[in-house]
Symmetry: C2
Subunit: 269 residues, 2 copies
């Protein structure tokens, strides 16, 4: 195990860990954000906080934004390059699914070394067998119910592939296990519609915004496995790893990376 550089719980170093009755642990009742610290500042912090706030609204939790901002500054202030993860749970409460409005949310901030393969490009992709379930009420959120991603990643060893693409139970291509996916076809940039499942990635939102500014034709639409065969270029987006081009998926091969490069430039990545 690679231990985190540091962990803080509710603003203090996590000497005593998390209460065993925490609802994040018992039910996955909470949200998280994984952010890239680069040259001493958090990349796209505002977008992360917007998503966290929206997730809190949908889960009917208050969002302790000011506390989090203060703690982020305290913890990440002197750090140059790292990953900062925030987990926000509905706190610890009595046994039972019903939320306890009087419970104080649990804030967990942890600082991690950058992944080793951070700038890897020419990604080798595979198809995952594990499907994503559909539920509009939970779609888009970065909540803590992530067994589907866990089981998907357990399907292959790191040396066999860099990432796995996931379909939902209806067969639509939704995302990679820990990244959103974009394809370029007939000069149009296409990314899957996430109305039923998937996470609305912060880097995905940045890429969509950059495409609009660059006047790149963009379509957010259902994507099917056959669409990958017709794609001229494929890349993945993730807040920590940025924009990474794919070079293969099963028998498919891509060498085109110009759209990814252009977007990376527009976003100063």
């Amino acid at each position: 195990m690679i231990a985190p550089i540091a962990v803080w719980v509710n603003g203090s170093p996590a000497l005593n860990g998390i209460d065993a009755m925490d609802r994040g642990l018992n039910y996955g009742d909470g949200l998280f954000e994984t952010m890239r610290l680069s040259n001493g500042s958090i990349r796209f912090l505002d977008s992360h906080l917007v998503r966290l706030r929206r997730g809190c609204e949908r889960l009917r939790m208050s969002c302790p934004e000011e506390l989090l901002l203060e703690e982020i500054n305290r913890i990440a202030g002197d750090v140059q390059d790292a990953v900062l993860k925030i987990v926000l749970t509905r706190g610890h409460a009595s046994r039972g699914y019903r939320p306890d409005a009087s419970a104080e949310l649990t804030r967990i901030l942890s600082l991690h070394a950058l992944p080793a393969e951070i700038s890897a490009d020419a990604l080798k992709l595979r198809w995952c067998t594990m499907r994503l379930s559909r539920n509009e009420a939970l779609a888009g959120m970065k909540h803590l119910n992530r067994l589907e991603q866990v089981m998907a990643q357990s399907e292959w060893q790191p040396e066999e592939a860099d990432e796995g693409l996931m379909l939902d139970t209806a067969g639509e291509v939704i995302c990679a296990t820990a990244a959103n996916v974009f394809i370029v076809r007939d000069q149009v940039l296409i990314t899957p519609d996430l109305r039923y499942c998937g996470i609305e990635g912060v880097m995905r939102a940045q890429v969509i915004g950059a495409a609009e500014r660059l006047q790149v034709p963009l379509s957010i639409e259902p994507v099917w496995p056959d669409d990958l065969a017709d794609a001229r270029e494929v890349f993945l987006t993730n807040a920590v790893r940025g924009i990474r081009s794919a070079s293969s998926l099963a028998e498919l091969r891509w060498s085109e990376t110009s759209m990814a490069s252009r977007l990376r430039g527009a976003l100063n990545l």
Copy 2:
């Protein structure tokens, strides 16, 4: 908050809580069992362990059954009536969805007072708005991804209803938020097919077994909301609360409780 009577983590009193990197907390990567201690012994312990073992197999976790049995005996040995909850997670590991085969599972055992309304009957039911997502790969397991149940229970206040029935995204009736559901129609005992979602409850399995022994005609099949209108009797099952008859659901009313009574008798509840 009603605090648990006691909590043990990996066999010791939980003085220091759970590691913030625990995969149960970060991804809901684990399973749980909620068991009824009655007159000093755990009701249907074997069935709980069978389900836990099957869940471990499906999640590709080893099941520390002997350790758990030893700890259950140590913790629950002197207790007459209570709720014993086991949470088993894939332990704490580096950041990232990929399971770490070298991580030691986390075992959390907690002892709780019986719920106040334990023997309540004539349940007032409601329909939940929150739907259950469908995924055969996760259906049936009592895993820690329970946001759908949390959000469903947050739809009403305890004084408005005793339980809520949940549909899946295709509109089938699957279960209550924390119980399985049975209906009686034309002398046939019917319970929803859980091939796509829902939890295979220990009390549900006991009721199915008892119905077979009593030669009650039984059908496990898709159930639709209209089937409730045609039901002569409706009851819920839960390992802690047993078998409880429903008296109403929206505009529907039931007074029949004979099948529930018969099954309760057969199971010595």
